[in-house]
Symmetry: C2
Subunit: 433 residues, 2 copies
């Protein structure tokens, strides 16, 4: 990806065009990103994509090919083309750092810049945050359900090829231990995993030959897929070929709870007490929860993860909440469209804690940081970009590692109800202070 | 995107590694892509992504950066790295051309190559086809519901930024008239649209100033967004400022049916009988169907389109169905895993028609093309790649145009029940001949 600048809706550019002509495009503006609600029944969400958004921001430049195309299609005129030619974001952004829990109306991102500079970024910012946040929010329910057992992301084939890369990263933010996706592993230094599919077994004249080829190539510590034909026979063969060192067997079909018990008994009776069992058939957080009592060692999660487990987008919006008038005085603004009302004015946010150190409210303040007279609070928004400079610690592999730690810390602070998988209200209320 | 080769699951490479070591990787194989079922309640699906997949196939090369990373992570050894260095797909592919209707078990793609060559492509092929097919299948329900009224794709912000580009293309395959996404417009010469958001109105001291700025920049033929504050007042102002030439007004909130009637009456009473009404608030195929009786001129569709309207992935799989043995003789293969059985052997497919020229069955034959003694049939699979050469007409802007025409033709042939939006069975049965 050389330039990210055309990953946008046409109207961002036409608004700049009309605003440059009228002069209003130079007004200082505050835009905010928030979700009016969590996906149906969810208790909390997890902010993700911040690092990717900041990486893409640095590539948000209009080069020759982009400008030539815009000119040839007459999408904007000469004045706007000149503006776009020199465009680089020179404003500032504050937001919930990646991995942080969010709730309805949490101001997860605040963008301060001229209208023209901030408007141009709307679609790109929302695309990244809406997708990655949806995946991380689903992934968090899965890692919470899995407890100490590792989850492995294997969903690449069930989502667009670049969403797969972003989804693997978002899963890592929310505690997934590894991914099957190589490009995600390369970009953000994620752990990658993978051994063989059913096709590898079918390729050989017998299951035994396939297992032998795999063990010869990767040693007995490999993971053998044992459900191409008959599971019991396959486990016997796997142990016979790989011996007591056999790393793991994988089950990818059928009643996983029952099979895990049977296979565990069989492995133990063969002396393979340290051979692990990996399961991976259409798992979601509910299936993981059901499997917690079964002797399973790790979970491979695919489709349901990369499609957000029923909520493929976080439905965040990017709204103008404040802008200057001709005298340079800030004016709070809000639309009053039916069902889509918003709250004007730049916001700050803090999480409030009870005496036991559990989060008990999301405080959102207009203009200044909300506090509580008697309770501890924690400021939630941090500087991400200051005067055009992306702040350190949010991008690259470091950004993902820090976000994963933040996710653990932030989820741990939530009330126990956060771990409930059934549908319910947000786990803590959002209070406009 | 320089190389697409790491947009894959690790196990595709480790299977090649083990297969090269054992020699089995050189066996000639047939893999097939199909969906065991349509998304719940859908009557038919629309194949999409074929052109993008073929475009990406030409970039599926392991260059220095990819090989260095694989070596540094020790994901595969020297023999496999050598193989990957020279990799280019030299096999053949046949499949349903893009835009064609498919049904459960339709063999939408057949890949013939050595195991190593075909296995490597699994994840990438599925990622592209599963995403684009899901979007096109949802889009087709929308364009069918919309009848002669144009649908415009506006969902970029609600999906990952590259999925947005692919989604706009898939929507065009299924009959969408235009997209807001500029990168999609550039890559495949799609029509693009867009004028202004609520932020543009809020930026100005009054709605009137905002409308004036927009009309000055784009002329009276522009589309004015009239629901930032009070719709009736906004329509009056819009007509006052733009005059009888006002191109369109857009409604993005509230009860669209009721508002469309009111705004139409208002526009007509002001003499603006040719000013159009565009609606765009969380539309899906059901909302479009409800709006068909309202005086609406076009539909802007976002979230529900790019998330597949409840079915974000087509759940297609890529299965080994045939491979040679040591003597070079083809052997049909299939796994027998519980709930995931497949049918061995390379398949061909034809659509069968009744005397009125309506499609009445999907015929799938093993080995040879299925025919019907008394009824007309049409062969469905066409050559996409022959001996490594991508066949003309499937990629680029031409590919999208041809796919859109094919979609129209193919949907038109289906029984009337295909147009029902309520849940039901596949509109024609799949018959294994």
């Amino acid at each position: 990806m050389s330039s990210t600048a055309l990953l946008t809706d046409q109207y961002e550019l036409t608004m700049v065009e009309a605003g440059l002509a009228s002069g209003a495009a130079h007004r200082r503006c505050v835009f905010e990103v928030f979700a009016r609600s969590l996906p149906r029944g969810r208790r909390y969400g997890v902010v993700a994509g911040t690092g990717r958004m900041l990486e893409g921001l640095e590539q948000f430049r209009f080069g020759g090919p982009e400008l030539d195309w815009l000119a040839s299609r007459k999408i904007v005129g000469e004045q706007t083309l000149e503006f776009l030619r020199d465009y680089r974001f020179s404003g500032s952004m504050w937001g919930y750092p990646e991995g942080e829990v969010y709730l309805p109306h949490s101001p997860v991102l605040r963008v301060e810049a001229s209208f023209a500079e901030a408007c141009l970024l709307e679609t790109f910012i929302l695309s990244v945050l809406n997708h990655d946040t949806a995946i991380a929010s689903a992934a968090s329910r899965m890692t919470v359900a899995a407890g100490e057992r590792p989850c492995v992301e294997m969903g690449s084939r069930r989502t667009q090829e670049m969403s797969a890369v972003a989804g693997a990263r978002a899963a890592a933010v929310a505690g997934f231990a590894a991914t099957s996706n190589l490009e995600a592993g390369r970009r953000w230094e994620l752990g990658t995993l993978g051994t063989a599919a059913h096709a590898f077994t079918l390729l050989h004249d017998s299951e035994e030959e396939a297992f032998r080829a795999q063990v010869e190539a990767f040693g007995p510590g490999t993971t053998l897929l044992v459900d191409t034909y008959d599971v019991e026979a396959a486990v016997n063969k796997a142990v016979e070929i790989a011996g007591p060192e056999l790393g793991a067997v994988r089950l990818d079909s059928g009643d996983l709870v029952e099979q895990a018990h049977e296979v565990r008994r069989q492995l133990d009776s063969l002396g393979n007490t340290s051979t692990q069992i990996i399961v991976s058939s259409d798992l979601d957080e509910h299936a993981i929860a059901r499997l917690q009592s079964a002797p399973v060692d790790s979970y491979g999660v695919g489709t349901k993860l990369v499609t957000g487990s029923g909520a493929p987008t976080a439905s965040m919006v990017y709204k103008l909440v404040e802008r200057t008038d001709d005298a340079g005085t800030p004016v709070r603004v809000r639309k009053s469209s039916s069902g889509k009302e918003s709250v004007g004015g730049a916001k700050q946010a803090a999480r409030r804690y009870d005496a036991q150190g559990r989060a008990d409210a999301e405080l959102v303040g207009l203009g200044e940081l909300p506090t509580s007279p008697d309770q501890r609070t924690r400021e939630l928004m941090v500087p991400l970009v200051l005067d055009g400079q992306v702040q350190p610690g949010h991008t690259g592999a470091e950004g993902v590692r820090r976000a994963a730690q933040r996710h653990r810390d932030s989820v741990t602070e939530l009330p126990a109800a956060a771990q409930r998988l059934q549908e319910g209200e947000a786990v803590i209320p959002t209070i406009f202070a």
